[in-house]
Symmetry: D2
Subunit: 437 residues, 4 copies
C-alpha cells in the first residue's frame, strides 16, 4: 500500500481493527448459533454481545504481543477476547478452525471492497455520461493507427468509455458474488465438530452465501477470478488514460487535464502542462493487473490446504483494491474536470485537406459504376497529392479537377461527400444503445 495512492474508506477495510472486528462478529454469530443449537450456553452469547455493545477499543498491540508468543493469530485474538470478556468466552470457536474465521473475514473484506469499487464505478459512469452528452455532437477526428480516419464526436469517445465501464461494473457484480461466501466447516471441511447450521446462520448475518464445499479454506479459484476482474477494470482505466494522454500531446491538444493554479509542471520548463494524472493512472493500472498472476498461482493449494496463498493475499488484498479505488476516483476527477477544446478539434479535423472524406468519395464512385479497383486508384492518386502537401492542397478541389472522377460524379455530388453531419446521423442511435437502461 502506497499512502499517496490510497483513500481512507478503502484503506480502513484492511486495518487490523476492522479485521479483528469482523473476526469478533464471526465468532459471536457462530456462538449464538451454537447456543441456539444447545451446544453452548446462551450466557456465552450474551457475554460476547454485551461486551461488544460497549464498543470496546480493539487493542492491536496487545493481540500482536500474544501472537509473538503463540505464533498463531487466531489463538492470540481469542486469548485477548477472553481476557476482556471473561470465562464465558471459552465457548467461542467451538468446533471451528482458524480458517473458518480468516477466510470468512476475507470474504467480508473483499465484498466490502467490491461495494466501494461499485460506488466508484457508478460515480465514474455518471461523470462519463454527463460529459458524453455535453459533447455528444462535438466533432473531432477519429483516428486509427494514430492516423486521421473519419470524423467522430467527442461524445462518442466518452460513450465508448461509458459502455466499457458499465461492462466492468457487471463483471465486478459477478466477481463479488463469486467471492462473498462463508465457510464454517472445521479443520478439513467435514463439519465433524460443528453443525452446518452454524455456517448458515453466520452467512446470513454477514450477507454471504454458504460455501457449498470447503476444505478448511474457501477455494482460491474464487479469489483468482476476483483479482483477474480487477485487472480487467484496471486495463480499461489504462485505455482511457492513454486516450487522454494522447489528446493532451502538444501537437494534438484537444483536451487537457485540469491545471490547478498553484501547480508547477516542471522545475525547468514553466510553460509545461503535463498529463501527469493519466500517466500516473497508466502505471497504477500495471500494478492492479500484476495481482492477477499471483492470485492464479494461489489456486493450486496442496490437498485440503496449505498456507502459501496467505502472504500473497496480505499484499494484493489491500494493494489491488486500494489502488483500484484510488485510480477510479482519480479517473473520475480527470474526466469530470477535463478541459475540452472543440476549436482545436475542428482545427485538427481540417488540417488534412479533406482526406477524411475520401472513403465517402470512394463509395460514391463505386455506386456510380466505377469498379472497386478503379475507384480506389482515382481516390488514392488525389489523396496522395493532398497528403504530400501536408494538408495545403484540398482533396475536394483536386477531385473536382480530375476528369476521370468528374466523368462519374458531378461537382455537386462530390461536394456532398464532404459534409461533416453525414457522419453523425447515427450518434443518437448509438447513445440510445449505450445509455439505455
Amino acid at each position: 500500500m502506497v499512502p499517496r495512492y490510497s483513500r481512507p474508506a478503502m484503506t480502513a477495510i484492511w486495518s487490523p481493527e476492522t479485521r479483528f472486528g469482523i473476526w469478533f462478529e464471526i465468532e459471536a454469530h457462530a456462538t449464538q448459533a451454537l447456543a441456539e443449537l444447545g451446544v453452548v450456553p446462551e450466557s456465552a452469547t450474551k457475554a460476547l454481545w454485551d461486551w461488544w455493545a460497549t464498543k470496546p477499543q480493539i487493542d492491536v498491540a496487545a493481540i500482536d504481543a500474544i501472537e509473538a508468543v503463540t505464533k498463531h493469530d487466531v489463538i492470540a485474538f481469542l486469548t485477548w477476547v477472553a481476557e476482556n470478556v471473561g470465562d464465558e468466552a471459552r465457548f467461542m470457536h467451538q468446533g471451528m478452525t482458524s480458517s473458518d474465521v480468516l477466510d470468512t473475514c476475507l470474504a467480508v473484506q473483499l465484498a466490502r471492497a467490491a461495494d466501494i469499487l461499485l460506488d466508484d464505478l457508478d460515480q465514474l459512469l455518471e461523470v462519463l455520461k454527463r460529459r458524453a452528452y455535453e459533447h455528444k455532437l462535438t466533432p473531432t477526428i477519429g483516428r486509427s493507427h494514430g492516423i486521421h480516419a473519419e470524423p467522430v464526436t467527442f461524445g462518442l469517445k466518452l460513450a465508448e468509455a461509458y459502455a466499457e465501464f458499465k461492462r466492468n461494473r457487471e463483471r465486478l457484480v459477478f466477481a463479488r458474488a463469486d467471492i462473498a461466501t462463508c465457510a464454517i466447516s472445521g479443520a478439513v471441511g467435514t463439519f465433524a465438530n460443528i453443525d452446518p447450521r452454524v455456517e448458515a446462520h453466520v452467512a446470513d448475518k454477514l450477507g454471504l452465501a454458504v460455501e457449498p464445499v470447503s476444505t478448511q479454506v474457501i477455494p482460491r479459484d474464487r479469489h483468482a477470478m476476483f483479482f483477474a476482474t480487477l485487472g480487467v477494470i484496471a486495463s480499461s482505466i489504462e485505455r482511457l488514460a492513454v486516450e487522454i494522454r494522447h489528446l493532451q500531446r502538444t501537437e494534438v491538444l484537444e483536451a487537457e487535464e485540469y491545471f490547478s493554479p498553484g501547480q508547477k509542471g516542471s522545475s525547468a520548463m514553466p510553460h509545461k502542462r503535463n498529463p501527469v494524472l493519466t500517466e500516473n493512472l497508466t502505471g497504477l493500472a500495471r500494478m492492479v493487473r500484476s495481482a492477477t498472476i499471483p492470485a492464479m498461482e494461489n489456486v493450486a493449494l496442496w490437498h485440503e490446504r496449505d498456507i502459501s496463498h496467505s502472504s500473497v493475499e496480505r499484499y494484493i488484498g489491500p494493494d489491488a483494491t486500494i489502488t483500484l479505488d484510488f485510480a477510479l476516483a482519480r479517473l473520475t476527477g480527470v474526466v469530470d474536470k477535463l478541459l475540452v477544446y472543440p476549436a482545436r478539434m475542428q482545427k485538427n479535423l481540417d488540417r488534412m485537406g479533406g482526406l477524411v472524406h475520401s472513403q465517402r468519395v470512394l463509395l460514391a464512385l463505386t455506386q456510380a459504376g466505377v469498379s472497386r479497383e478503379d475507384s480506389y486508384r482515382l481516390v488514392q492518386r488525389n489523396a496522395m497529392k493532398v497528403w504530400e502537401s501536408d494538408g495545403e492542397l484540398s482533396l475536394l478541389e483536386l477531385l473536382k479537377a480530375d476528369d476521370e472522377v468528374t466523368a462519374a460524379l458531378s461537382a455537386q455530388e462530390i461536394e456532398e461527400k464532404f459534409d461533416l453531419d453525414y457522419h453523425f446521423k447515427q450518434v443518437d442511435t448509438i447513445f440510445e444503445r449505450v445509455f439505455a437502461d
Copy 2:
C-alpha cells in the same frame, strides 16, 4: 499451437479455411441486409449465396498470394471471392471496414471455442460426479500443510473439484456472453456508410449480440475478460493435477494415473509409474494462464484503434483455447481412469497412531469443563509422544493412561472420540449442496 497438445475440433476453428468461411458468411449476410434495405441489388446476394451453395473449396494459397501483393488480408479475400463469384461481388463489403469482418469473425471463433470448452467442462463434471459418488464414503486422511489433519472421504475431494469446475462453467458462460458480439459499424464505428440494421441482421444470423458502440474494433476489455477466465480455469486444472501428483507419490500412493500396458515410465528405471499426465497438465496450466497479461495489455488501444492487439491474438486465440481444450480432455481422462487405492488410504490414515482424532479429544475435554489452555496442553503432551514414535505409539492408549485426562473423561468417552464415521456424518449434506440442481 503445439500439435501434441491439440485436438482436431478446436484446432479446426482456427484454420484459415474456417476463418475465410466465417468471413464469407459475414459478408454475404451483410450484403443480404443491404439488399433488403435497397442499397445493393438483390442479385448480388443471390450470386454470393448461389456460389456458397456449391460448397466451394477455399483456396488459401491463392488468397495468400494476393495478400502478398496487397499486404491487406480482407482486400485479398474479397478479390479472391470476386474472381470466383464474378461481377456481382463488387457489392460486397459496402460501407464496411476490414475490422467489421475480422472482429466479428473472432467473436464467432471465440464463441465456438467457448462452446467446445463448455462441452469439455460438462464431460469433466460428469466424470467427477460419477467418481465422487463412487468414493463418497471412502475414508482418506485430510491434509493441511501436507500434514495429516482429520479424516475426509475421497469422494469429498472429487466433490470439491466438481464444485470448482461448476463455478468455472458459470464463469465461462458469462465470458462467452461477453465475447459474442457483432460489430458492423464502419471505419470509426459511426455507421456513416452503413445502416445499423445491417449489423443487427448479421448479429442475428450468427447468433451474436450487437456491440452497442464500437470504434472500428470491438473493445478489447471483452477479450481480456475472456482470456482471464480461461486462466482461472487453467489454475483449477493445476490444482486437481497437483492433488493427483501428490497422491501418486511413492510414500503416499493413494491414487495413480492409469498405466497402459505398452507404456514405459523411464528408460532407466522400469518399475517407475510417473504421474506424467498431471505433471503435463501443470505445465499446460501455466501456458493458458500466460495469455492473461498480454490480453490485458491489448485493451489500451490508441484512439479508435491500433493493430497491436492483432499479433497477440494470432498466438493466444488458438493457443489458449486449443491448449485448454486439450487439458480439460486430458484431465477428464485422468479422472475417469484414475486408479484409486482405498486400502492404502486406510493404511495411511492409521499410520499416525490416531493423532487425527486429537481435535475431538480436545473438544471433549473442553466440554467436560477443562480450560481451553489445559485441554490443549493435555492433548499436546500425549500427541507429541505419538508423533516422536513415528506412529508406533497409540494416542488412544496414551490418553487412557494419562491421569489428568481420565480425571475428565472416562475410557469409553475417550474411545468414542476415535470413531471414523463421526467425521462423515455431514457428507450427505455436502453432496446435496454440491450436486443439487
Copy 3:
C-alpha cells in the same frame, strides 16, 4: 509458432530433424567417450559415426510411430537408430538417462537461438548507428509527457536506442553463458552408472560448459533467466516501436515507416499510411514477454525433477526465440528504411512560439540575480500567453516587451537564449560515449 512471424533459420532450430540430429550427436559423442574409457567397444562408436557420415535422412514419422507405442520419446529414437545402425547401437545411451539427452539438446538449441539473436542485435545496432550518425545534428523537439520540452536531435534518439540494444546484447551474452551447459549425469545426477568424463567430453564437443551439479535435469533457474532476458529485449523493442508510432501520428509526422508501392493502408481510406509494422512489434513484444512468468514458474520442480516444465518449454522455446528473431529483424528493417522528415521536425519545433527556450531564459534570469521564484514567475506569465495563443505569439517578443525581464536582461541577452545550436554542443560527447569501442 505463428508462421507469419517466423524466419527460416530460427524455425529450423526447433524442427524435429534438428532435435533428433542433436540427440544423435550427444549419444554418439557419449558413446565415443565411453569407448575411450573402455566401457563399450570402439566398434560401437565407429558404427554410429559411419552411419552418420552417410548423412541419413531422419525419419520423423517412423520415430513418432514408435513413440506412439512406447510413449517415450528417447526410447523411440534409440530404437529407430538401432534399426538403422544395427547391433552395435545397443552400446548407445549406457548409464545415461533421457534427460541427459533432452536437456543437453535444449541447451544446444537455446545457445544456437541466442547466436542468431546476437546476430540480429548486431544488425540492428549497425543500422541504428548508421542512421544515428546520419541524423546526428537533425534538430527535433524533445518531448516529456508528450509535451514539447527542449530541442534534441533525431540522432540522439537513435543513439539512445543503440545504447539500449547494446546493453541488451551484453545481457544476452550473459544469458547465453547461463544456458549453455551440458549434463550427462544419469538418473538422479550422481554419475552412478556413467563416468563424469563422458559429460566433459560431450560438453567439449558441443561447445557447452559442464553443469556442476544436475539432478537428472539441468536446473531451470538458468532457463528462467534466459527467457526473462528475452523479455527485457522485447520491452526495448516495444519502446522503439512506440516511439516510431508516435512520430508517425498525423499531427506529428516526423518519421514514417517505409511505404511500399503496392501496399494499401486500409480498405476504406486510401490515403492512410499506418505504422502497422511498429504496431505489430508492440504486440509481438507482449508475446515474448509473456514467456517470462511460465519460465519462472518452471523453476520449482519437485525433488530431483518432475516434467511440468516440459510442455511449457515446447511452447516458449520456439515461440519466444522465433518471435524475438522475427521482431528484431522487422525492427531492423523499419529503422533501416525509416522515412525521416527533418522539415517537419523543424516545423514542429517552431510551432510553440519559442516556449522550448523558456528554461534557458529562466536560468539567465537567476544568474542575473533574480530570485528563483521571481524568475519562474516572469517566465511563466509570458509563457502562458504564448501557450494560450496556440503558438501565434512569440515568447521572444513578449519577453523583450516585459519590463521586469528587461530590467535584468538586455534584448540581445534574451535573443541569445533562443539559439538552437546551444542545445547541441554536447552531442559529440554523447556520441563518443555511446559509440566508443
Copy 4:
C-alpha cells in the same frame, strides 16, 4: 510493503528520510562540481556542506506540506533546503532537472538494496555449504516425478541449492552493475545547461557509473532487468521451499522446519507441525516475481520520457527488495536450523524393496549380452511384482529366483548391484565442482 515481511535495514533504504538525504548529496555534489567549473560560487557549496555537517533532521512533514501546494516533489525539497540553508541555496540544481535527482537517487537505492541482497545471499550460501558438508554422505532417495528413483545424498540436494544461489549471486552482481548509473543531463538529456563533468563528479562520489545517454530519465530497460533478476532469485527460493515442504509431509518426514517451544501448529490439532515458513516463502516468491511484468511494461516510455513508470516503482522498488530480503533471510534461517532425519531417510530408501537398484541390474544384464529389450522386460516383470506388493517383496530375492536372469548374472553379481555406496562414488567430484573457489 507488509511490515511482517520486512527487515529494518532494507526498509530504511526506502524511507523518506533516506531518499531526501540522497537527494541532498546529489544536489550538493553537483553544486560542488559547478563551483569547481566556476558556474556557481564556492560559497554555495560551503553553505550546503556546512549545513549538512550539522546532521540536520530532515523534516518530512514540512517538505510534504510544501509539495501539497507546488505538487512537485523536488521543488518542494529544494524550497525546504533553501529555508534551512539560506540564500546560498539558490545555486543548487542549476541546469538540472528533477529526474536527474530522482533517477540517480533510485540508482543509489537499488544499488544499496542489491548490496543487502548480496549479503543475504552470502549468508544463505554459507549455511547451505555448512549443511551440505554435514550431510554430504547422508543417503536419501532421489525422486523424479515424486516417485522413488535412485539414491542420492542429502548433501547433494543442498549442493544443488548452493550452486543455484551462487548463480543467482552472479546474476545479481550483473544486475547491480546494470542499475547503478548516474544521470545529470538536464531536461532532455542534452546537457544544454549543465556540463557533463558535473555528472561525472556526482557519479564518482556516489559510486555509480555515468549513464552514457539519458533522456531526462535513466532508461528503464535497466530496471526491468534488475527486477527480472529478483524474480529469478525468488523462483529459486520457491524451489528450495517446495523441496522442504515435500520433505516435511507426514508420509515422507525426512526433514522439518525447526519448531520452537511456544509455537502452536493449529488451533484444532495440537500434534501438527506445519512447514509454515516454507509455505510462506512460496507465496513471497510469487510476489517478488509479480514485479517483473510491470517493470518490463515500464520500459516503453513515450519519447524522451513520461511518468507512468513512477507509480509502479513506488510499489515494486520497496516491495520487491524488502520482500526478497526478508525471504532470503527466512530461508537462511530455515536451512540453518532444519531438522534432518537420516533414519527416516534410510527407512524411506528401504521401503520399495530394492526397486531403486533396478537400473543397475538392467545395465548389468545388457553388459552381460542380453539385448536392451530383453533386459528391460526381465527387470520390469520382477519390479512389477515388488511394486504391487507395496514393498513387501524384495527385488533382490525375486531376481535371484528368475531363471532368465540367473542365466546371465550370478547371484553374487546380482547382489553387488544392490550396494548403496556405489551411487555415491562421485559425490566428492560434484562437491569439488560446486564448492571450488
